[in-house]
């Protein structure tokens, strides 16, 4: 055993810098992608403007409502500078402009929604429609509140004069009911299963890691292709250890090293990006992709073909993941998604079918090599 380990060390030591780079690349790439994605998500807000002709509570609430949305960045202009806001719009520095009239609060209180807000947009205003919908809903909400208050007060005056209720009480009660009953909360579903209600993450770091690890692992095993097609392989027929045995030991060593790196990756991603995954699922995923990479590297005739196969397989897996919901809905067989190794990993499941397949292929290869020659 030690002889084989020493021999492997001799053969691989010159490739160590490259292999080490491949080993840490998935973690670095994942951290970089998530960092860029998060900063882009935070930065990507549609610039809009609100022109205010009066300083009123309703105007402030309207601006606050627009700003609280995830996609809008609202700039406030006073009435005298409405021209400046429109110029910004003409120069495409703003996506849309909302002009609140001088009697905005009065009209809200009075329920006069017709032509309440003047809006401007351009042929490049891609977020105008959702912004307009948001503005309309904010106005509707405020008007609804006033209508409710007026209606309840009217009822009180007519029937409940012994228990006086004021406007603030009614508004507060309306707010409490809205919060308690989650009137605006949406329940998300994924592949037929309801979400646990937690905040939906932007981009799961483990998806990024799973794909980059898949392709990089195949790249890492390119030395298997080089050694398998090398003329020197013929000499193993005269050695005390067969080439198959030597390469299986290599597989075990590489998998052990990669599992250690995966352990470090797990801790880093969990701590820095707060994304968890099942350790058993991570272990199984590593075994499966290493087995796939090893068999593929043993099968192809040149490293270039291995790289091509790696890219093609990664794209195929990614495409399959994207169309999986459609396939499942068309066929009604949610079991199909169980055949996708990355999906199974992300769903914290043990990928038994792929594990058995890889194990069988490995055994076939060992059996075939042991019976060669003579």
């Amino acid at each position: 055993m030690m002889d084989m380990i020493y021999a492997r060390w001799l053969l691989i030591k010159r490739q160590l810098p490259k292999i080490l780079l491949w080993l840490i690349l998935p973690l670095l790439f994942t951290l970089a992608v998530i960092s860029v994605f998060n900063s882009t998500s935070e930065d990507f807000r549609v610039p809009s403007a609100v022109v205010v002709h009066e300083n009123s509570t309703e105007a402030d609430l309207f601006i606050e409502g627009l700003n609280s949305s995830e996609f809008m960045d609202v700039e406030v202009f006073d009435g005298e500078n409405s021209g400046a806001a429109l110029r910004e719009l003409e120069q495409y520095n703003l996506d849309s402009v909302f002009i609140l009239p001088e009697d905005f609060e009065e009209k809200i209180r009075g329920g006069q929604r017709r032509n309440l807000i003047e809006t401007y947009y351009t042929d490049r205003s891609i977020y105008y429609e959702p912004a307009k919908e948001l503005a309309a809903s904010l106005v509707q909400e405020r008007m609804g509140e006033y209508t409710t208050v007026d209606y309840v007060l009217e009822l009180q005056n007519d029937f409940l004069t012994e228990t006086p209720v004021n406007k603030e009480d009614i508004a507060a009660e309306r707010k409490r009911i809205e919060t308690d009953t989650n009137l605006v909360e949406q329940v998300f579903y994924f592949l037929g299963e309801p979400d646990n209600g937690e905040e939906t993450p932007g981009l799961n770091p483990w998806i990024v890691w799973a794909y980059i690890t898949f392709i990089v692992t195949i790249f890492t095993f390119d030395f298997v292709t080089r050694e398998t097609v090398s003329s020197a392989r013929i000499r193993f027929n005269f050695m005390k250890h067969s080439y198959t045995k030597f390469m299986l030991l290599t597989f075990v060593i590489m998998t052990t090293v990669m599992l250690i790196v995966d352990g470090i990756t797990y801790v880093v991603i969990k701590e820095t990006l707060e994304a968890d995954i099942s350790l058993l699922s991570l272990f199984m995923y590593r075994i499966i992709i290493n087995g796939t990479a090893f068999l593929l590297a043993s099968f192809v005739k040149s490293p270039v073909k291995l790289y091509q196969a790696a890219v093609a397989l990664t794209i195929a897996l990614l495409a399959l993941q994207l169309v999986m919901p459609v396939i499942v809905s068309l066929t009604g067989l949610s079991l199909i998604s169980s055949l996708h190794p990355v999906l199974m990993f992300l769903e914290n499941e043990l990928n038994i079918p792929w594990f058995i397949l890889i194990a069988v292929l490995m055994l076939i290869r060992i059996w075939r090599d042991n019976n060669a020659g003579g």
Binding site: L10, R14, S230, S231, N237, G374
Partner: protein
Amino acid sequence: MLEVNSVNKSYGKRHVLDNFSMSAEQGEIIGLVGENGAGKSTLLKILATLSKPDSGALYLNGKPYKKYFKEHRKLIGYVPQDIAVWEDLTVIENMKFFQKLSPAKKSVQELKALLNNIQLSRHDTKVSKLSGGMKRKLNLAISLINDPVFLLLDEPTAGIDLKSRIEIGEFLKTHAKNNDTLIIYTSHDMNEIKEVCDRVIVIGKDSFYRELLADYIK
């Protein structure tokens, strides 16, 4: 020591070896000649246990190949036509690598001595930086790590300079004599065959090599 009885080998419809028989004793150096495609390399691969004959029987030290091929491999040294070494490693690293996996145990000093015997002194040079002649010498040296009693060489001097060719030839003669090793090797160079070999076997039906051989014997 070696006995080959009526060996046949075909690739599809093409007969490469047709009832080929021979025998050889320890210490002999036998040259195999014949035109390209006559079956020299095929015969060497069969003798090296790397390929199976379609029919016929082979014996090494009285033991049949069919049953004892794994045991025979420990006694055989095979020098393939391609340079079967790791290009990224140095000369001595190549020797260490194959020594570690070989059934025989040899110290680094013994490996260096083997290289020196074959006049390959650049132990710490990367193989990719060696000349063709040096690579051929290393190719041979690696095959000798397990002290084979039966050495098979497939065109061991192909494409190298005259000096290296002579050095390899001299080394093989000395090695066969000192170690009582049976050596069979192929070459297209009749001068080399004449210089090195005790006996020549012509493979194939082409008469060119038979006539050439007859001229040399005269």
